[in-house]
């Protein structure tokens, strides 16, 4: 018998319905896997007791025919989602010990659908990073290793714990959040599927805010179908978030199997800069060929402002972060360091509570918003953001979807030199433009490098057209023979 942890969400859902095993057995199998894989450091706070209690409730609902869409499915929750009575840290010292008195809308929706929370997953501090190295609770290890090498690799970030837990078979799926690539880049590094929906699909209420005009929640899973199932349960309008859309949430799973025949796939020339990693370029070419073989046509397109997306992001995101993170002041929640005055207490609390990268971004954000620099930096960036968004709008007049690599490299080593912030920011060069435009994007595992490490392909579609995105993703998944991409045990 296949082990329970290797099932997909869709398989487990069907087998739970047929009573081939119980939700409690499925949860226990995952709790055991988490215990064995503690060394990955994927979880900040495991919640075994909550998981067992919810699994028992799921079994009762399965018995009485009241099962939800994710009944009994064990999931990990990124520790950026507030969970009632369960420590929520954003991987920061400043929030250590914080137990929210409320539940985020997305985690509540997943709970309402019957899923079982296994625990709170590690991330880069305040979701700022691409390696998970900036967590106050220590780095996460990627379950994958390069062929013939024993050194540990990063899982990407910021949703690094989520990616490692799903890739390492500790959870059937996990929530992530994506501000500039924080779902898609770790999905690529860990060989799983990661979906950032259209800005406004998921409520941001109860998610620790980083950059509010960019933050979106999304699913991280081992199959495209699982991502479609999980995303549907996460989406929908929420009166608590005025930027969440009142649009009807489509049944994303229903479009699977429709294929890509007749679809026009855009290939943007700006995503093939001089010096692009040859294996990444080769996989991209392969992906394009797979889609042609499946009946799609490809169109060469241009997204002329692509090279300005990263610098734009590193104005907009820190500016919003400097404002959002002003709430960590040692007064209402979290850590406090005493000082001789109120201002001194603030400054000491924030100096001790925030890590290096978070402080750096708050300082940059404060600078670009400060008197005399606002127009030159922040307003300028908002205008370039409008041009980047227009690039995509123009492109989607001509094509139905855009396919690119997800990240410029495969996972790198935990010990690799990482002291140049700008070099680290370049990890998100292919994911940030879609974040700025607010369009949906997904990463699907496409293949392995010669060193045996996963590489993802990114699929972008127009706003509110996740359905076409899922169709393209599934075609790529089938062609790539995705199930063969298993993390070595």
């Amino acid at each position: 018998m296949t082990s329970l942890t290797s099932l997909t969400i869709a398989e487990a859902r069907d087998q739970l319905a047929k009573k081939e095993f119980t939700a409690l057995e499925l949860t226990e199998a995952h709790l055991q896997a988490m215990e064995k894989a503690k060394g990955l450091n994927a979880f900040i706070t495991p919640t075994a007791d909550i998981a067992r209690a919810r699994a028992k409730e799921s079994d009762a609902r399965l018995q009485s025919g009241k099962a939800g869409a994710l009944e009994g499915i064990p999931l990990g929750i990124k520790d950026l989602f507030c969970t009632e009575g369960v420590q929520t840290t954003a991987a920061s010292h400043i929030l250590e010990g914080f137990k929210p008195p409320y539940e985020s809308t997305v985690s509540q929706k997943l709970r309402d659908a019957g899923s079982v929370m296994l625990g709170k997953l590690n991330l880069d501090e305040f979701a700022m990073g691409s390696s998970n190295m900036s967590s106050y609770f220590g780095p996460v290890k990627n379950p994958w290793k390069a062929k013939g090498r024993s050194d540990d690799l990063v899982p990407g970030g910021s949703s690094g714990g989520s990616a490692a837990a799903v890739s390492g078979y500790l959870a059937m799926g996990a929530t992530g959040t994506d501000t500039g690539g924080s779902i898609r880049q770790p999905a690529s590094f860990c060989g799983i599927v990661g979906v950032k929906p259209t800005y406004g699909r998921c409520s941001r209420w109860g998610i620790v805010a980083f950059a509010s005009s960019l933050d979106q929640a999304g699913p991280m899973t081992r199959s495209v179908r699982d991502a479609a199932i999980m995303l549907k349960a996460m989406c929908g309008h929420d009166p608590m978030d005025s930027t969440s859309s009142p649009r009807t949430v489509p049944d994303f799973e229903a479009v699977l199997g429709q294929g890509v025949k007749g679809l026009r796939i855009g290939i943007p020339k700006e995503y093939r800069p001089d010096g692009l990693n040859s294996e990444v370029a080769a996989l991209w070419d392969k992906g394009i060929q797979w889609l042609k073989d499946a009946g799609a046509t490809t169109v060469d397109i241009s997204l002329p402002h692509t090279k300005y997306a990263l610098p734009t992001y590193y104005i907009v995101a820190p500016a919003e972060a400097s404002s959002n993170l002003a709430r960590y002041d040692g007064v209402r929640f979290g850590q406090r360091v005493d000082g001789k005055s109120l201002d001194d207490m603030y400054a000491k609390t924030r100096a001790a509570g925030f890590g290096t990268e978070v402080k750096r971004r708050i300082l940059i954000g404060t600078y670009v918003l400060s008197a005399g620099y606002y127009d030159a930096y922040y307003l300028k960036a908002q205008k370039v953001r409008a041009l980047i968004s227009k690039d995509f709008a123009d492109a989607f007049e001509k094509v139905d979807a855009i396919v690119t690599p997800t990240a410029p490299t495969a996972a790198f080593g935990m010990n690799d030199k990482q002291d140049d912030p700008v070099a680290m920011y370049l990890n998100d060069v292919f994911t940030v433009p879609a974040s700025l435009a607010g369009i949906p994007g997904a990463s699907v595992p496409g293949g392995l490098t010669s060193e045996g490490l996963p590489l993802g392909l990114q699929v972008l579609t127009n706003r509110w057209d996740e359905e076409t995105m899922f169709r393209v993703c599934q075609t790529l998944e089938e062609a790539a023979a995705f199930p063969s991409l298993k993390a070595p045990s």
């Binding site: 209402r332 109120l342 300082l363 600078y367 205008k383």
Partner: protein
Amino acid sequence: MSLDKATIRKVATLARIEVPEAELDATAAKLSGILKWIEQLSEVNTDNVAPMSGGTTDLAQSWRSDEVTDGGMADKVLANAPDAQDGFFGVPKVVE
């Protein structure tokens, strides 16, 4: 633009983050590197371009009636406070 120590000191004060004197130079160097890289945006012609201030361009501002829908939970609000006193947040003395 290259940031000097005085600018970092000022920004750190605005951001309410204590930066030790010994770290000002290193912080200035790192932030200057980032700003220099960001300044490539000046190449882009943005004349007559309206700024994009939110994550979406097609969502109208939503309205709701101005009614109290929540409240009466002071204990929950104070539960995580480092220094909750008699139903208030405790802070260092601010009025002499």
